[in-house]
């Protein structure tokens, strides 16, 4: 007892001292303007990718809405695609799931699995005011909304500033500048562009950029709509330029079998000068590796076209059309909650990364990549989808095959373009309505 008495001041002091370092109690009040939550205890089964930063924001939501439990099941990218597909066929879809857009989300919309976010629902949950029009436009399918956009992610060229400064290379503003920069880097023994081409989609980013440059925005969109021919001089030029860059050694050796995760470290090690990537590298890679994001500068890949466009896509939360109404309300409330600007500014939301689809919202100053890209999507540039979301999935393989065959030299650019167009013609014949 004497020991406890003598230690008591120490224990009390330590408690007070320790509590001064605890996270300040976050605001547990729901944001204004959102509808009331459904009554009673509601559980929302939520599927999303394991590396996404949902944990803290789910905890924050739980404080504001204690009767709603968001149960997050984590998947890798391919696992999530598989799980959604299998569960849709067996009638066991989750209540809410993360999804990309374009032809990756279309099956779930066309199959009647995703709840339509009608204009009335969007107004009720404030989504028409909180989500940027660019994000809403990208998310629409046949003119209707079937998900709540969370991120808008441009994919473009990042260059290593310190390396460019070392070799006196100016920031590329035109296509010619870009090729000059690549030539200079190559002459200094640095790989101009780091690519991990194992799954083909990373190579696709370069191919898409080249098609945007040679074909222009209007024709590029027509190609995606299958209204223009891939067997055209513009596409052949783009394919030929890809082959030229491969032959000049502008990509890392053996890139076509390299995992994409192995590409960015080449920039860390100054073995490569540029990479086609997206804003997620700021939070998931650069900041996590305790590197300076200011050294990895994102530029709109200079396609020399008007309007100025950058490849990009939105990512969204989709809600099951078959869940009970109270679960749908809870899921919509969660999506609306995290889309509020005041919530997006909290520490808990920071882990979600940027750029967010929230209108007028800018990331923190210590996130230069997210800030730059957010400014693009809020005014400076339009977006076009990447091929693997713009084309029907049945044609994506044909595109990857054509592109990779050019890289390997097993097909000429002309033959690859013809092969791709044949695949389009076969697809259209098989899907005549």
């Amino acid at each position: 007892m004497n020991i406890i008495k003598s230690l008591l001041p120490l224990i009390l002091g330590a408690t007070v001292f320790g509590s001064s370092f605890s996270t300040p109690r976050a605001n547990a009040q729901p944001p204004e303007g959102l509808p009331k939550p459904p009554e009673g205890k509601v559980t929302v089964k939520f599927w999303a990718i394991a590396t996404q930063g949902w944990k803290d924001v789910i905890a924050e939501f739980a404080k504001a809405y204690p009767n709603i439990d968001i149960k997050w099941t984590k998947y890798s990218t391919d696992e999530l695609k598989q799980a959604l597909r299998v569960s849709s066929a067996s009638g066991k879809m989750p209540d809410m799931w993360f999804n990309w857009g374009g032809s990756l989300a279309a099956p779930y919309i066309d199959g009647g699995h995703a709840l339509e976010i009608t204009p009335e629902l969007a107004a009720k949950y404030g989504l028409d005011k909180s989500i940027s029009p660019v994000a809403l436009d990208l998310a629409r399918h046949n003119g209707k909304l079937y998900g709540v956009p969370i991120w808008v992610k441009p994919m473009t060229i990042f260059y290593k500033k310190s390396l460019f400064d070392k070799y006196g290379i100016p920031e590329p503003k035109t296509f010619a500048d870009l090729e000059k920069a690549m030539e200079t880097l190559k002459s200094k023994g640095v790989t101009p562009i780091a690519v991990g081409g194992k799954f083909s989609w990373m190579t696709m980013r370069t191919t898409d950029f080249l098609i945007e440059h040679f074909a222009g925005p209007e024709m590029h969109d027509k190609l995606f709509a299958l209204e223009a021919s891939y067997n055209s001089p513009e596409v052949v030029q783009a394919f030929a330029k890809l082959k030229e860059w491969v032959d000049k050694g502008y990509f890392n050796d053996g890139f076509i079998s390299i995992d994409p995760n192995q590409a960015l470290p080449l920039l860390y090690q100054n073995k490569a000068g540029m990479i086609f990537q997206g804003p997620w590298i700021e939070e998931e890679n650069i900041v996590k590796s305790k590197l300076d994001p200011n050294d990895y500068v994102a530029i709109i890949a200079p396609a020399d076209q008007t309007p100025v466009r950058v490849c990009g896509f939105q990512e969204q939360l989709q809600i099951s059309s078959k869940s009970p109404p109270e679960v749908q309300q809870a899921a919509l409330l969660f999506a609306a909650y995290i889309s509020q600007p005041e919530v997006a500014k909290t520490a808990a939301s920071k882990a979600l990364g940027t750029p967010r689809a929230i209108l007028g919202f800018l990331p923190a100053e210590d996130r230069p990549i997210g800030t730059t890209m957010t400014k693009w999507i809020q005014g400076e540039a339009q977006l076009y989808l990447p091929t693997d979301q713009a084309l029907p999935q049945e044609l994506v393989n044909a595109f990857f095959q054509a592109q990779d065959s050019i890289v390997l030299g097993t097909l000429t650019p002309e033959a690859a373009a013809a092969q791709m167009q044949k695949a389009v013609d076969d697809y259209k014949a098989a899907n005549k309505k």
């Binding site: 391919d78 695609k81 598989q82 597909r85 849709s88 066929a89 099956p107 779930y108 066309d110 199959g111 009647g112 699995h113 081409g197 194992k198 799954f199 083909s200 890392n252 050796d253 053996g254 890139f255 076509i256 079998s257 390299i258 995992d259 192995q262 029907p392 999935q393 049945e394 994506v396 393989n397 990857f400 095959q401 990779d404 065959s405 890289v407 390997l408 097993t410 076969d426």
Partner: protein
Amino acid sequence: MNAGEKAPLVGAGQASPARQDWSWLLPWAFLAPALLIYVVVVVYPMAYSGYLSFFKWDGVAPTKQFVGLQNYFTLLFNDKVFWTALLNNAIWLVAALLIPTSIGLGLALLLNKGFRGSSIYRSVFYFPAILSLAVVGLIWNWIYLPDIGLINQLLGGLGLQSLQHNWLSDPNLALYAVMVAAAWNAAGLPMLLFLAGLQTINPEILEAAQVDGAGPVRRFLSITFPLLRETTLIVLAITAINSLKVYDIIYAMTYGGPANSTQVLSTWMYFLTYNYNSVGQGTAIAVILFLLTLIFAIPYIRMMGRE
């Protein structure tokens, strides 16, 4: 009937219906739980896959379109990647039957001599077999890296830069590069099976042959190998069936690339079903794969049944 008279038999030659023998049901009763699980987990999915192969379906839409044999015709006459995959499976089958089984047999013959430390070597040679193929793929991916991979670094160190290669980027080499990794993993099981088979051979037969002047090669060809016939058949059957199922190491190492050059039937089936929304064509490949597997599975099962 009068007292004392016996009741007539119920029909001449007819057995009494009073007690029937239900003992034949007993084995089925014991088999029933396992059979139920087998039907639910194996038979039903197989049958449903076969059913789906007659439909055009993206795996998500609530309705399917019946197309009959169209998926099979598309694969056989309009899908170059299917034929690439089939050829790759055939190459893989031949290589798997020859390479890891020969390595396994060779290791078993060496280890059967029972020298000091042979049990340690047995563990060392068997170790790769306990790794999952996905892990094997990861390890060998690093070994094959063009710049910093072990193989190219070794070749460079030995002054053999001309032999350095982009092993997994070359469509002519990639499949064989993956086979090397698979053989490293697969040699352990045949080694154990052959070792067990060698233990059953009476050493006196070999000693007698040695006394009669037969050399080691002669003893192997005329005595050891013939006596290993049954073990060899088991190893070959298991290897053949496993080679048709190859999937994870291809997925981990090359993802079917570059440009679909290392696709095998299992990986192409996965891609069509899960990546390219063609469930009908994917399940059609599953049916074709099943029929090909039966070619090896039926003789194997009959052989095991005879024993």
